[in-house]
Amino acid sequence: MKAVNNLKTVHQIQQFYYREARMLDERQFQSWIDLLAPGIEYTMPNRSNCGVDIKLKNKEEILNIDQELSTGLQPHIRDDNLMTLTFRANRPTSGLSMTDNPLTRTRRSISNIEIYKHGHKTFKVYNNVNMSYSKYEKDNHQYNFQRQDVLQVIDGGLKILQRKIIIEWNVITAPTLAMIL
């Protein structure tokens, strides 16, 4: 993969992520849908408590992350497209969502942004998210995950074409992974 060194592009992509984070923290979920490419593939693999394959000893591959992640027919934790993400985005505004009433409070910090050329008008972007989550009076939780994104330039603007979210949990100790992450 070839890194993107054009500082203007790097700046635009960083600003895209900061804006997205603020949008989600300010609960502009329906506006967030406008950041998605029509063919969006949004996944979060399940991360198993995985033993090592002794046949790979003395190779770095023995520690490879991919072997821990759900693949093929194994169910991911999240496997969304534009339609299902739209359901998720519209739900909090329905007034009937008990998980959004009282309101959930979040704060996202985005870091470790790495940008690579991908294909025609697309970039592969790695980034880490640290999110504090607070509900009711003192249900406070810390979320930490990586996003492996593909951004596409559509009509001069950046859109998310792929998002793969990598978590560290095996037993998830946060209240839910159903929100937009």
């Binding site: 979060m44 399940n46 198993s48 408590n49 995985c50 033993g51 759900s70 027919l73 194994q74 169910p75 991911h76 934790i77 999240r78 496997d79 969304d80 299902t84 359901f87 998720r88 739900r91 329905s94 009937l96 969502s97 008990m98 998980t99 095996n170 037993v171 998830i172 100790t173 209240p175 839910t176 992974l177 159903a178 929100m179």
Partner: protein, 439 residues
Amino acid sequence: MSYLDEFVSADAHRISRRVFTAEEIYRQEKRHIFGQNWIYLSHESQIPNAGDYALAYIGETPIIVTRGLDNQIHASINSCTHRGLPVARADRGNTKRFICPYHGWSYDLQGNLGAAPQERKLGIKLDKDNLGLKKVPRVETYLGLIFGCINPLIEPLETYLGDMRWYLDCMFDRSGGGAEVVGTPHKWSINCNWKVPVENQLGDVAHGPHLHGALLKGSSQVDEIERLGFNIVPKDGHGVAVRLMPEDASLEDKIFAKDGLTLFDKETIAYMQEQHAEVEERLGKVRARLKPLCYSIYPNLSLLWGNSTLRVSQPRGAGKTEYWSWWVVGKDIPDSIKMKLQKNYTFFFGPGGILEQEDSEAWTQQYAGNNIDYVDDQYLYFGLGEGEQHKHPELPGMAGSVFNEHYVRAFYKRWKREIEDGMSMEKLDPQLIALKNLA
């Protein structure tokens, strides 16, 4: 007067909040409920080959389920007899032996001690016959579902399930290939009592349009279950909610997958329609128009039929549950349709599920609402629909409307009886009394 009358009234209309919050009650449950009943461990499709293993729990006790070199299923307690460490530590795998990381004691797939490295250094012979992993004394299967029981005298699994088998077949015997459970479980922690998720899937249809109002209020599926649904108790402690479609319903209205995200999916609907003649041949005319919704099998296994998910409510204290949830699907179904059916699981249920997030939060709130003072004289009300249940001409078990809470009353009557019986037995047992005095 029995031990638990102040916790569960004789008719189980009134249940104390302490049943869901008291550590002392939880200690009794570990002995008399989890130690005495068939507990779901795994599915045969999770360990298809000799040497395969998967981790499970009976209550809080870790279990290794293996497929031995003899191709038989074995279950042992996952704790080394030397210093007690777990000897199998990954969710799943394939191996010839389990080696304790501390001093290298190794056990075969049946739990027998193979070697202890210190034996040779000391020039001694260990009594290996008595140093194997503790075996789960009873292991039996039904349609690939593997259960284990700590009590060697328990009734056979098929008797234990009783008429629940008739309903389980609708998922696990629907086609010649049966069903398979794919991947490692989704697991998450919920601050609630373990019985609360079980109760929900014994037949709590009534919460749907309220707790899940954002998605389900006014939906055609809620309307269908309210019009055509029954809460069934096939045997006390087990429960299932079903829709029995009218005989003159269209083929499309009777098939599997006419639910959720595949409701209008042409490829899936066409495939299921084609398959329905085989379903009718295998399950008969009544079950060919039966569309279950949710099941619970006493004490802690549940299944959502339309959403293809099997789940175990693992207790971790009076106020803590670890929920393990798997995707289960007909083995013969083509992969392209399996992937579409899978979204009926992951979109709605599991740790990222749009409905499950509401359930998990409600169950957490239920614990918070019950773990309080000054209300011990005010019981929770479980009396809805009393006396309205009846025998049904086509459905085995007792049938009530989907708002009848008889399923949960039957569960708590059995639960109460088992704890009382267990406590009485211990009281009468001089050996146990001696042990207690020692402690």
